[in-house]
Amino acid sequence: MAAHNAFELAAPRVTPMGSAAFLLESEGPMCLPTQRRIWAVGQAAGDLKGVTDTQPGMNNLLVLYDPLATEPEALQAQLLALWIATPDTPAPGKLIELAVRYGGDGGEDLLDVAQRKSMTPRQVAEMHSSAEYTVFAPGVIPGFGYLFGLPEPLFLPRRDAPVNRPLLLNVFIAGLQCNVSGPPVPGGPQAGPTGWYSLGQLIDAPAPFDLTRDPPGLVEPGDRIRFILDEVLE
């Protein structure tokens, strides 16, 4: 268990994110072992004196603290020590399956992506739904997260200029990331600007965030997601 620490990581870059937070950024490629270390350090950092919250990002960790309850410089050193000493505890992630209708409303960019990749829209949908994704970090809508695991042939840089897209619990991709976005509540904003590519929308998905549910969020970092191909609208 403790011997699990075989994966050696370079010390992260620790920089202030203002007067009450530090950002720990790991060098190197985004990968599951690094992310596991980030989750573990985040969990351990939550117990440090003065730390008020932690938030994993993609290859990074935000640690918020109360500057009147702790010495910032001392906390910075403690975080570096944790990075070295914390074992990569494998997160007990659950598997969640979500049905997707590719193309059509909420899938405005399916054809564009297919053309850029010299694939058919169905091939894009099949490739996208063939992978298992891991929730790396809390995301842009409450209750969902940034996903890692996009097959490499689908990597696409973010658009230079954002475009307006309807928000219908759509499945977006950009770079090597995948995400689900949408109105967090009925009646929320129905469209928004994004530099990501929208491939489709979730069908019959549970609300990402529901206060009557325990826990209220649909996914947590470490959970695994499978997208089930429901249909492809071309």
Binding site: T15, S19, L23, T52, T54, Q55, M58, L68, P138, V185
Partner: protein, 341 residues
């Protein structure tokens, strides 16, 4: 036990119940929300002898009219809205006793008085005992985007009745009330009388920006644009900020006060209702003790950035803390009824 205390007679949209925010919920992608001018809320609570984080009303659009339903006490802090209680002027940064039936009116800052000494945008109304709404995920702040917290998860509407938490009605030595030295006077900052100055700690992407961008960031005044709300403030300057090194940005957690630079080069400062994560390059972060200064900047006002480090930021936090501690101590004496033997 809570009792109906205030009835909303008139309010534009976008006014809401807020407290100091909802910490500890970032794993669900739930950001801080809370009063943008958190210092104004803490001053109001200090004057009334409330807990520092007791909920109040954040008023950012006017006119607002409220009827008092029960004898008690209120404090008005933040923007000077030329408040009137049954027609009688109430000074800014002020706590006073109120009686059932009285009507409180607030006007847009600067509309009825032209002699405001500082920029003013958002007012805070505190009540003795705090505004009593159910706590959701550890806070009473309204999360408008997710429709929870505050009063039914939404902004205030005419006809709403707000309850106050149980509180010993504070006894005022003078029925005219008393007030606080405004933070702009007690905690002055900056040399340019035409602009508001805030302190910024450079962020991890700072070195990626060009030298000209660094120069412009620290020495130019930045104008607040009309595209500003509780999510963020968009700024406009004469020199768009550009990066020398363009790296693939990885999404990470962001905080209130982060100065992000989208491709156009015009910075956006994130505020309380913003996303919890982002990926735009960030020049720096406005320090927490200066966030209240941002909260009071109306569109078209000018902003200057002053470079600072962690030690200076902590000193600023301590200075603000001691200002609040002083107010709590002195208010307790002002509310105390001395025993005459």
């Amino acid at each position: 036990m809570s009792v109906p205390f205030l009835e909303v007679l008139a309010t534009p949209p976008l006014n809401s119940v807020q407290d100091l925010g909802r910490p500890g919920q970032r794993r669900w992608g739930i950001g801080p929300t809370g009063m943008v001018d958190g210092l104004a809320l803490q001053v109001g609570n200090a004057l009334l002898g409330n807990a520092p984080g007791a909920a109040g009303l954040e008023l950012q659009l006017f006119p607002v009219r409220l009827r008092v339903l029960r004898d008690g006490a209120i404090a008005l802090t933040g923007a000077d809205c030329d408040a009137r209680l049954d027609g009688r002027p109430v000074p800014p940064w002020w706590a006073l006793p109120v009686r059932a039936g009285q009507v409180l009116e607030l006007s847009p800052p600067g509309a009825t008085r032209r002699d405001l000494a500082a920029p003013a945008l958002r007012a805070c109304l505190s009540v003795a005992g705090g505004i009593d709404v159910p706590e959701v995920l550890g806070s009473r702040a309204t999360h408008v985007r997710c429709a929870f917290g505050g009063l039914e998860g939404r902004a205030l509407r005419p006809g709403d009745v707000l309850a106050a938490g149980a509180a010993q009605a504070p006894a005022f030595r003078d029925p005219a009330g008393f007030g606080a030295l405004p933070p702009a006077t007690a905690l002055p900052l900056g040399e340019d009388p035409q602009a508001t100055t805030v302190r910024v700690i450079p962020a991890s992407d700072y070195d990626d920006f060009t030298e000209a961008s660094h120069e412009a960031f620290w020495s130019d005044p930045w104008r607040v644009t009309i595209q500003s709300d509780r999510m963020g403030m968009r700024l406009e300057g004469t020199t768009p900020l550009k990066r020398e090194v363009v790296q693939e940005m990885r999404s990470h957690g962001i905080v209130c006060g982060v100065v992000q630079v989208p491709p156009g080069g015009h910075p956006i400062i994130q505020l309380n209702d913003g996303n919890t994560a982002g990926g735009y390059p960030k020049m720096g972060v406005v320090i927490d003790p200066d966030l209240w200064r941002l909260a009071q900047l109306p569109p078209r006002s000018l902003l200057r950035f002053q470079r600072c480090d962690l030690a200076q930021a902590r000193a600023a936090a301590l200075e603000q803390d001691s200002y609040l501690a002083g107010l709590r101590r002195l208010s307790a004496l002002s509310l105390m009824t001395p025993e005459v033997a």
